[in-house]
């Protein structure tokens, strides 16, 4: 067994490192700290950020990959992933990966959804709902649920206690969380709900297919959880890629003017005048060809789909920097006309210092707002791209792929609704949380709202 990293893993952990450093930097500036404090004062912002953190932790859990060498662990692991990489999340859900059924089954079902043809000993052909292979027919649903909920409540209680203890130690007054200006009570409540719900789902997934199974009997809960990583990655890594481009080009266009400005303006007008889907489609198709011509780049299907994801993220990044760049250019123009900047210029302060001291800090709110706003849009865009056929690899789990597949399932009678439902709920919670959070960020940061 050895640790391995996919490209996206590296990108995620790099991002986490950046976030931590950034957090450390702001924690030193009381001014910025105050802004964040204001953001989290809102109960909705607090709750949604907890939800976002919950999703992020799944992403991280799914971004640590290990590889079992086939020789040493013969027989101990299922054949499927000898030599394949598995993530920590996969290890948590080994029971679900291994217990694939034959085909569709509804949530908590004990039998297959569709009838199959069976020829019995007497030669009579019948259509019956076959029992599921990996669901015990005798378990008590109620008893297990109660047990699971209890455990979930205990875990969340412990977590909350631990956090309260930590806050006490830090010197904050903890009395029912009321005196603190931050709405910790909401945070605890959200956390408790999430943890309990997840524990319930997780513990019951040992004896049931909690959200049913798909066409080839794959567990839908597992798929939905695996899709979290894809959604979150597309949402944040794309911004990570487009951000430096947009900032560098936007600021230099605004600050230097002249031909630099002309070239940059030309670039983004040209790019943004091409219809978005066409540009993305062309980009995705061409990278696919690149991959076809270089099969030696990847050893496993997982690596292959991962590289495709990386390319998709890069292409989305390339196509989406133009909007932010235009905003930043305009804002930089405005700032550089402001008196203290012109004064600084007159005093012969270097350009870099001006950028660092005056321009970047004043652009921060625009950048932040666009990051949080773009996130949800990108998560939703993934589904549409999958429909057009230029989304992520079909072998990879994603909500877009699930919805796309569910399109056909909705036409079945009786309807197979759980794939669409699960993808919808998981996606909805993430996007809703992101939207609510971005709402708050916008409200606090946008200077127009400060009247």
């Amino acid at each position: 067994m050895s640790m391995t990293f996919l490209w996206t893993d590296l990108m995620v952990w790099f991002l986490v490192a950046v976030l931590i450093i950034w957090g450390w930097v702001i924690s030193r500036s009381p001014q910025v700290k105050k802004i964040w404090h204001t953001i989290f004062k809102s109960k909705i912002a607090m709750a949604s950020s907890i939800v976002l953190l919950f999703y992020l932790s799944f992403t991280l859990l799914d971004s640590v990959h290990v590889r079992f060498s086939p020789e040493s662990e013969q027989g101990t692991q299922g054949v499927q992933y000898q030599g394949e990489m598995v993530s920590l999340l996969d290890l948590m859900f080994v029971h679900n990966i291994e217990s694939t059924e034959r085909t569709y089954s509804a949530p908590f079902a004990t039998h297959e959804y569709a009838k199959s043809i069976v020829v019995d000993d007497k030669g009579v052909t019948r259509q019956v709902n076959l029992p599921l292979k990996h669901v015990s027919q005798s378990d008590s649903f109620l008893k297990e649920s109660l047990f699971a909920l209890l455990i979930g409540a205990c875990i969340s209680f412990l977590l909350i206690r631990a956090h309260m203890f930590w806050r006490k130690k830090k010197g904050e007054k903890v009395k029912e969380g009321l005196e603190s200006p931050l709405p910790w009570r909401t945070a605890y409540l959200t956390l408790a709900v999430l943890v309990t719900a997840f524990t319930w789902l997780y513990l019951l997934s040992f004896s049931y297919h909690v959200l049913g199974t798909d066409k080839v009997g794959g567990d839908v809960l597992y798929q939905s959880l695996k899709s979290i990583r894809t959604g979150v990655l597309i949402g944040i890594l794309t911004t990570l890629i487009m951000l430096p481009v947009a900032i560098i080009l936007g600021v230099s266009a605004g600050l230097f003017g002249g031909w630099v400005d002309d070239v940059i303006q030309y670039l983004y007008t040209t790019l943004s005048s091409i219809p978005g889907v066409l540009l993305i489609a062309a980009g995705v198709l061409s990278m696919q060809m690149l991959m076809d011509n270089n099969p030696q780049w990847f050893e496993t299907t997982l690596e292959r789909s991962d590289i495709r994801l990386v390319f998709l993220i890069i292409i989305l990044g390339i196509t989406s920097w133009t909007g932010l760049c235009r905003l930043l250019r305009a804002e930089t123009l405005k700032i550089s006309q402001v008196e203290f900047v012109t004064a600084a210029k007159a005093f012969g302060v270097g350009k870099w210092t001006i950028i660092r001291r005056h321009i970047i800090p004043n652009l921060m709110h625009i950048i932040l707002i666009s990051i949080v706003l773009d996130f949800s849009g990108l998560v939703l865009a993934e589904a549409v791209l999958s429909y057009v056929g230029v989304g992520i690899d079909p072998t990879m789990f994603s909500w877009g792929n699930m919805i796309n597949q569910a399109r056909l399932e909705m036409a079945r009678e009786p309807m197979v609704w759980w794939s669409l439902f699960s993808a919808f709920i998981f996606m909805f919670i993430l996007v809703l949380a992101a939207n609510l959070f971005s709402d708050r960020v916008q409200k606090v940061l946008d200077p127009r709202n400060k009247t």
């Binding site: 569709a114 043809i117 019948r126 794959g218 076809d292 050893e299 056909l408």
Partner: protein, 728 residues
């Protein structure tokens, strides 16, 4: 204010009342007058790209042009096994076998070098009415040289004031073959036919050059002035085609659209640049003698076929009682026997890209026939205790009729025999392929992905084609055992043992100690493909083999296969004609991709000298017991070598509404529309009954809007009052 609300409420109720009393349908996607006529409503999922008889080679194109163009021969609609019969001929073509000097010799004489096919045309066949046939006093085409002003008002063929017809002659068939020879017409069978028809190759080279020169000079190309050596017009109604050697399958080709007649008038008419720029081309507006003509062509929405008024005398076929029982055909299929064709007066094809709307519209009665997607299968089909398929629930209530037939097609997974790992003819390579063949559980595939609509293949030849065998005799003994009168797939243990013998115990190479990794090329882009790929991977994982899937679009996939840059891949083949040669040639060494610079049809590059020698023999044989014996020998060789995992033969199931008559699946014939009949009265009745709109939600919605409007108004008034009070 109150008065206004009352007024609105009354109008609302009035409108609801009137709608309920009227009891029409709201969701009819077709013109309501058309529904009451003898019009057939059908759908197409992908717009046909070309409707040119020398090019079209796709089922969706054939569905249209099959009704319009008439090749010399056709398949009998009812008879099974498939039998050819004359369509525009007075009798089946006369075949004479000639030796080097052109003297007639016996069929089995080794001296046979040429065969001559003599086609005797019926003299009563007329083309559809078309402006291209209109001639002025001097006999020139009236619309053959349109001026800019003349073109101005032309947007559609209907805009030509006059139209005319003329009788079909042998010249038209010769003209069609000459058109096929022009390279820029991109005929897919030109290269195949050049091998057979005498003089076609040379003619093609010359005429293609001339055509290109003319195109550069912007001149029209009139093919009447040129002749092919092997194609002779003997008199107005007699055509002779001479081919190299013996090629009994040539008759089948004569039933395909490539040999349908093209009138020279139409070819010249459509070469006018002004018409091309208005998208009026032969490609889009065919001119034929068939039962229907294409009245409207908007492939982005709908295509309309209308009955051809000039259609020649043809009647619904009849069968003897014996034939009927032998082919297992219901009695009511013969009700119309002897009546004049066609029955349906108009066919409206609408574009339906998504399967959900298509299926739901069919259930609502707005399409007269439909296939069953695997999603809809559970809803539609029930298996009875005897194992036969029947309809269930809602569909049974609607008296929908189910018809099924195994198609003359095969979907297989091939090994590239040139590949160093899976290819080759050594014992270990054979065993590796056999092990993989056993591990691919096709029965499960058919059950999960096809809803049992298919049968596992035992070799390349599908049922219904000469050489196919049922039961123990037709069983692939490499993959299956015959136990208690049933075919049973060999156990995984056998496969594992074979794999170990091939040098990969448990999937680990005994040479390198590494896990065996194979590459599988697929065209997976659809929403359903992830499940499919997962399943495929699992089949290999059972043996401990790791499968890496490279999925691309179809063009790139083809490209890779043609360059033999593949290891494992899935592909399929539909019969061109019902002859085993059309399937066995997929494994013939001479057709291997590597031997033909990518042009060959044998994409697995299988070449076994024994197999090839037998193929050369059976190719020109009649369907005799001797031929069957040889084919069986070939199958045995191929099964042993296992160049393909044989895969499955799909079964097509079609549903038709109760008012749609004379529906019989016929996998070979394309011109089946003329036999079908519609009971329009019944259709109108049923559509009405099935599509009553649900009005309650609409009323609730209106009420909700009214109530919330009223409440908002109240709240606003309160607020306004309180503001005023505050400011006081």
């Amino acid at each position: 204010m109150d008065i206004m609300y009352k007024l609105m409420l009354t109008t609302l109720f009035m409108s609801v009342l009137s709608v309920t009393l009227h009891a029409g349908v709201w969701n009819n996607p077709h013109n309501s007058q058309e529904v009451a006529k003898e019009t057939l409503f059908a759908a197409f999922t992908t717009p046909p790209k070309r409707l040119d008889p020398v090019i079209s080679y796709n089922a969706n194109e054939w569905a249209i042009i099959g009704q319009i163009y008439e090749p010399p021969l056709q398949y009998n609609y009812l008879k099974r096994p498939y039998v050819l019969e004359p369509l525009t001929l007075t009798k089946m073509p006369e075949i004479t076998y000639l030796d080097k000097e052109g003297k007639s010799v016996g069929e089995n004489d080794p001296a046979v070098v040429f065969s001559e096919y003599r086609l005797l045309l019926r003299s009563d066949i007329k083309y559809q009415n078309h402006p291209a046939f209109v001639k002025d006093e001097k006999g020139n085409l009236l619309y053959g040289n349109l001026s800019a002003e003349g073109l101005e008002k032309i947007h559609n063929l209907k805009d030509f004031k006059k139209s005319a017809t003329r009788t079909l002659t042998a010249l038209d068939y010769a003209y069609a073959i000459k058109r096929m020879a022009v390279r820029d017409n991109h005929s897919p069978i030109l290269d195949a036919m050049s091998e057979y028809i005498i003089g076609l190759k040379v003619f093609s080279e010359n005429i293609s050059k001339i055509a290109r020169e003319k195109k550069e000079k912007r001149e029209a190309l009139d093919l009447q002035a040129y002749t092919i050596e092997g194609v002779k017009v003997l008199d107005t109604y007699t055509l002779s085609i001479k081919i190299h050697g013996k090629y009994p399958q040539f008759l089948f080709w004569l039933s395909m659209n490539f040999f349908a007649p093209v009138p020279w008038e139409a070819d010249l008419f459509y070469q006018q640049e002004g018409l091309i720029s208005k998208n009026l081309t032969l490609n889009w507006f065919p001119v034929g003698t068939g039962a229907y003509y294409l009245a409207e062509n908007d492939p982005s929405r709908e295509m309309v076929l209308r009955a051809n008024l000039n259609f020649h005398e043809e009647v619904y076929p009849d069968l003897t009682e014996e034939e009927r029982k032998g082919a297992n055909i219901a009695k009511e299929m013969l009700e119309d026997a002897g009546k004049k064709l066609p029955f349906v007066k108009e066919v409206i094809y609408s574009l339906e890209k998504e399967s959900i709307p298509l299926w739901n519209k069919f259930l609502q009665g707005y399409y007269d026939a439909s296939g069953i997607s695997s999603e809809a299968f559970d809803q539609a089909v029930q298996i009875s205790s005897t194992g036969t398929m029947g309809l269930s629930g809602e569909l049974k209530e609607k008296n929908i009729v189910l018809k099924g037939a195994v198609q003359p097609s095969i979907f297989y997974m091939a090994f590239n025999m040139e590949d160093p790992v899976v290819g080759g003819y050594s014992v270990s390579a054979k065993k590796l392929r056999q092990a993989i063949s056993i591990a691919q559980n096709e029965e499960e595939y058919i059950s999960i992905f096809m809803n049992e609509r298919g049968i596992a293949a035992q070799g390349p030849i599908p049922p219904g084609i000469f050489g196919y065998e049922e039961g123990e005799k037709g069983t692939d003994t490499v993959v299956y055992d015959w136990k208690n009168g049933k075919r049973v797939r060999k156990s995984l243990e056998v496969a594992k043992k074979l794999l170990a013998e091939a040098g990969y115990p448990n999937g680990i190479s005994s040479k390198t100690g590494k896990q065996l990794k194979l590459h599988y090329d697929a065209t997976a882009t659809g929403p359903d493909d992830r499940a499919l790929m997962d399943w495929r991977r699992e089949q290999f994982a059972k043996l401990g083999i790791q499968l890496v899937i490279r999925s691309t679009d179809y063009n790139r996939f083809q490209h890779k296969v043609r360059k033999a840059k593949v290891q494992l891949f899935s592909w399929g083949w539909d019969a061109d004609y019902p002859d085993p040669e059309n399937f066995l040639f997929l494994l013939y060494g001479g057709n291997a991709v590597v031997n033909t610079q990518g042009a060959g049809i044998n994409s697995s590059n299988y070449q076994n000298p024994k197999f090839d020698a037998l193929f050369d023999e059976i190719k020109t044989m009649q369907n005799t017991p001797e031929r069957k014996e040889k084919i069986e020998e070939m199958l045995k060789i191929a099964r042993e070598d296992a160049p393909w995992v044989w895969g499955f033969h799909p079964k097509s199931l079609t549903l038709s509404q109760q008012w749609f008559k004379n529906v019989l699946p016929n996998a070979m014939a394309n011109n089946t529309l003329k036999y079908k009949r519609i009971d329009a009265k019944l259709r109108v009745e049923k559509q009405k009954a099935w599509n009553q709109p649900l009005i309650l939600p609409l009323i609730l919605l209106f009420l909700f809007i009214l109530v919330s409007g009223y409440l908002l108004h109240k709240i606003y008034q309160n607020r306004q009052r309180s503001v005023i009070r505050k400011e006081d």
